[in-house]
């Protein structure tokens, strides 16, 4: 179990915090994904869990053990955590087996046991035949697997990943997603996984924390993010394609088309791509221009320009696109947010 309470990290005094008042808790065996755009503080949060940075305020607990607070911090090596770096950080002067073996050697294990553990770890990630090679002599995907093997060999209770798949090509990424899920199941270790790719979050996570500028926007199950986005930021960040947020003013779509379903709100109306459709001119429609059309699973994802915004809408491939393109609005928006992005009741 991992519990964070009011965790804050600022680099240098007087600077704005990079991680700002983060509190959350996940049970043992969970797969927690920290999701957010570049620079939102994900890596910093992860490095605090690993013991590579110390919190400015707040506490980190693993189970009942206090591992870090502003005044004390358990050294990285005593926390029982393993970390896979985005850059892999393989030691270039050691062979693949040497890389996996070194942490075991440091922890003082018997050579016989070490040999078994190394073989097991390499086997588990499917690179047993590369044991004697040097990191410079294997491919990027293989290096990634070495980094995994090195992390799991000491059998950490907590596994940490910092965007481990971002350097791989698309098909390898799908394969590794599956591998990681399998690894999580096989080890049963609590996992914290940092990414800016919402697909990874949706496919692997048991829990997701969406971060924005160092703060948690929403913490919940992956499905909840889609069905009950807590803020406009979350709505815009998750989903394939992500939901649309159409500006509304005093109860009128774009300030032009009044609609009682908007309840007089000013702010943003959430409309999922499947909630509206393309049409010709009509009483409940807004004019739009086509930008691009992407086929997806037998249907089309059409990106249009609505006002000065890009929006997406799902269309059927049989129906030709209307000549005078309009978007037919849904009965009611999926959700309403105020200007600050907070939900309206």
């Amino acid at each position: 179990m991992i519990t964070l309470e009011n965790l804050v990290k600022a680099f240098g005094t007087g600077n704005a915090p990079v991680v700002d008042d983060v509190s959350l808790s996940v049970p043992a065996g969970a797969f927690l994904v920290l999701l957010g755009p570049s620079g939102c503080g994900k890596s910093t949060l992860l490095r605090m869990l690993a013991g590579l940075e110390n919190p400015t305020r707040g506490t980190i607990r693993f189970g009942d053990t206090l591992v870090a607070s502003a005044s004390q911090s358990l050294p990285a090596g005593q926390r029982g955590v393993g970390l896979v770096f985005q850059s892999y950080a393989l030691w270039p002067h050691m062979t693949v087996a040497g890389n996996v073996d070194w942490p075991l050697k440091v922890s003082g294990l018997d050579p016989a046991i070490r040999r078994i553990r190394v073989a097991e770890a390499l086997d588990l990630v499917g690179i047993a035949d590369l044991a004697g090679r040097y990191p410079a002599e294997i491919s990027g995907g293989q290096q990634q697997r070495v980094a995994l093997a090195r992390m799991i060999a000491p059998r950490p209770q907590i596994m940490l990943f910092d965007e481990p798949l971002s350097n791989l090509d698309a098909s390898l990424r799908v394969e590794m997603r599956h591998e990681l899920t399998r690894l999580h199941a096989a080890t049963g270790a609590t996992t914290v996984y940092v990414t800016h790719d919402q697909v990874e979050a949706m496919t692997m996570a048991s829990h997701v924390a969406v971060l924005n500028r160092g703060r948690i926007e929403q913490f919940g199950r992956p499905g909840d993010l889609l069905t009950q986005p807590a803020t406009a930021f979350v709505a815009r960040f998750v989903g394939t394609p992500p939901a649309n947020l159409v500006p509304v003013q005093a109860g009128a779509w774009l300030g032009l088309l009044p609609d009682p379903a908007l309840r007089g709100a000013t702010g943003l109306a959430m409309v999922r791509a499947q909630d509206w459709h393309l049409s010709g001119p009509g009483p409940r429609s807004l004019p739009a221009q086509k930008i691009e059309v992407v086929p997806l699973a037998g249907r089309l994802v059409v990106t249009c320009k609505l006002g000065d915004q890009r929006v997406t809408v799902i269309a059927e491939p049989e129906a030709p696109l209307p000549a005078d393109l309009h978007l037919a609005l849904p009965e009611a928006p999926y959700a309403l947010f105020n200007i600050e992005g907070q939900p309206l009741p």
């Binding site: 490095r47 690993a50 013991g51 590579l52 050294p75 990285a76 090596g77 005593q78 955590v81 393993g82 970390l83 770096f85 985005q86 850059s87 892999y88 950080a89 393989l90 030691w91 270039p92 002067h93 070194w102 942490p103 440091v106 922890s107 040097y134 990191p135 410079a136 002599e137 990027g140 290096q143 990634q144 090195r150 000491p154 910092d162 965007e163 971002s166 350097n167 791989l168």
Partner: protein
């Protein structure tokens, strides 16, 4: 007809190979041939004479090499660490200044040392310190200690360049990953940090070692007056007194010593376990906070840089104006520069600008510098184009190897090889000895590795997608050459030419065996003045060389910057 004979690259490659053979392979083959089965081998290696001829100079040479390598490692490594891994102030300036000493010819630094530390032991009035009333002990004024210190001041720049390049590619995540295992600080240093940077350290050290053992000017100026001999000064002495075969044997041995260590260095740099970071993207650099040590360390670094760059220049300038180097900053006179001959002054020698030999030397040096720079650059470009464009079995590899071979050859040994081949008439072809052509050929060959390197960079830049992008617009060959290729290649090429120019005018080791009174060059002139005891004149001539070098270096630096901005 076998297919290789129809290969379009055959004739160009053969032509390039022929030129390289004439420039590089033939002189080497000649000294090998001349000494093959000669009695000189036995005399040098195992006779009553060999102790003085070989073993003692060899021991001195190796001592110097090891000490200089260690010193360069220490200073170059320290500066590299400071610049790449810490938050020391003025990092960029320190990084720039630390590369400069290599641009100052080592005989300039050696002369400056003399100006400061020399004592009356070898005649003359002694240097500035004696003038201040400090009794300079012999070991500090002459011999192995000053030679080692001066060579460190010269070659640490080389170690710095290699090590800082390596360190800046070390990824901070490597260390974090080791911290995650719970390893102790000491274990991380010995198990991860040191092994990762060791190849770079060894490469830097071996470059400094090779440079130090082949250096001629410094031991000649600071060691010979007290009869300290190194392999290079011995080799010079043998050839000067006409014992050429013994000289050639020493040349071969000197090449062997420096090549072994340079080869080692290259191996380490290219090795599979080298520092090159294995990484996707996203590694973070790790900046170490120096805290209170920040300013003291910055001051130390700046001091090192100033003492090895600006200080020698100031000393030389003052010493070229002061009648007595024991009173460097008094009675300044321009006599050594522009004075008429006056029996009461400087033993009747006129100032260097009235010395017809100096003017000839200036002309010859400039002429050599410019023509060698252009010629080497042209040959280098052709070699680069030919060897990258076509890959013929054996031939291409041989051409590449030959073009980089001069890197392994100490200048003085190279000079000896050129005398062996071109010093005497070859058939009806007259001897080149005594003509500027001999100097030009030897220098061109010696500069080839740098020129080929520049050429390759240029080729890499202008072939490939950039050219293809222009071709797709329908631009013809000439149009592309004029508006794409030339503008892109010109800054790099000009910078390459300037750097070769600087190396040529500052070279002493290659030309000291090849020059004749008919073909005087500035560096030899300065060396001659110095060994005859006319230090002011030597310093003045050296300053002329330095001014030319600095001007050319600055222009090259400017061009590089412009090129980098354009890229």
């Amino acid at each position: 007809m076998p297919p290789i004979l129809r290969h379009p690259g055959l004739w160009p490659t053969l032509a390039v190979l022929t030129v390289l053979c004439l420039l590089v392979a033939a002189p080497l083959a000649t000294i090998l041939g001349e000494t093959l089965g000669s009695a000189a081998w036995a005399e040098v290696l195992a006779s009553r004479l060999s102790r003085n001829l070989l073993w003692r100079p060899l021991a001195t040479t190796l001592t110097i090499g090891v000490a200089v390598a260690a010193g360069c490692l220490l200073i170059g490594g320290f500066l590299a660490w400071l610049v790449t891994m810490t938050d020391v102030p003025f990092r960029r300036s320190i990084g720039f200044m630390a590369t400069l000493p290599f641009m100052i010819p080592s005989f300039a630094t050696a002369l400056a040392w003399g100006t400061m530390f020399s004592n009356g032991r070898t005649g003359g009035a002694g240097g500035m310190l004696e003038g201040l009333g400090v009794a300079v002990p012999d070991w500090l004024a002459w011999g192995i200690v000053p030679v080692i210190l001066v060579l460190i001041a010269h070659y640490y720049a080389l170690a710095f360049t290699v090590i800082s390049a390596a360190l800046s590619s070390v990824n901070g995540d490597l260390i974090d990953a080791a911290m995650m295992t719970g390893a102790s600080r000491r274990r991380i240093v010995t198990g991860i940090v040191l092994p990762v940077v060791t190849p770079a350290l060894l490469a830097g050290a071996s470059l400094a070692f090779a440079g130090a053992v082949s250096n001629f000017a410094t031991p000649a100026l600071l060691g010979l007056p007290v009869r300290m001999q190194t392999l290079s000064t011995r080799l010079f002495g043998m050839i000067e007194i006409g014992q050429t075969e013994r000289g050639y044997v020493l040349a071969i041995l000197l090449i062997a010593v420096s090549a072994v260590f340079l080869g080692l260095g290259n191996r380490l740099l290219a090795g599979r376990r080298s520092f090159a970071t294995i990484t996707g993207k996203g590694g973070r650099g790790r900046v170490m906070e120096l805290g209170r040590a920040r300013w003291p360390l910055c001051a130390l670094a700046l001091l090192i840089c100033l003492v090895t760059t600006i200080l020698p220049i100031i000393l030389l300038a003052a010493a070229s104006l002061a009648p007595m180097s024991s009173a460097l900053f008094s009675d300044w006179t321009l006599h050594y520069w522009i004075g008429e001959a006056d029996p009461a002054f400087a033993r009747g020698l006129a100032g260097i600008l009235h010395n017809p030999q100096l003017l000839t030397a200036l002309g010859v040096t400039m002429g050599l510098g410019i023509s060698v720079a252009l010629a080497a650059n042209a040959v280098g470009l052709v070699v680069a184009v030919t060897t990258t464009r076509w890959h013929l079995p054996l031939l291409t590899g041989a051409a590449t190897q030959l073009s980089f071979l001069p890197l392994l050859l100490p200048g003085i040994a190279f000079g000896a090889a050129y005398i062996a081949l071109y010093g005497a008439p070859i058939g009806s072809f007259p001897a080149l000895y005594g003509t500027p052509l001999l100097l030009a050929l030897a220098l061109t060959a010696a500069m080839l590795p740098f020129a080929v390197q520049t050429g390759r960079a240029t080729v890499a830049q202008i072939s490939g997608e950039i050219d293809e992008a222009a071709r797709i617009t329908g631009a013809g060959f000439l149009r592309r050459l004029w508006s794409i290729t030339l503008p892109l290649a010109a800054p790099g090429q000009i910078a390459g030419v300037l750097l070769i120019f600087v190396s040529v005018i500052g070279d002493l080791a290659i030309v000291v065996l090849l020059y004749t009174p008919a073909t005087p060059v500035l560096s030899v002139l300065s060396y001659r003045y110095a060994s005859d005891g006319f230090h002011q004149f030597a310093n003045a001539v050296t300053l002329v060389i330095l001014i030319l070098s600095i001007a050319a270096t600055l222009v090259a630096q400017l061009l590089r910057k412009r090129q980098r901005n354009a890229a």
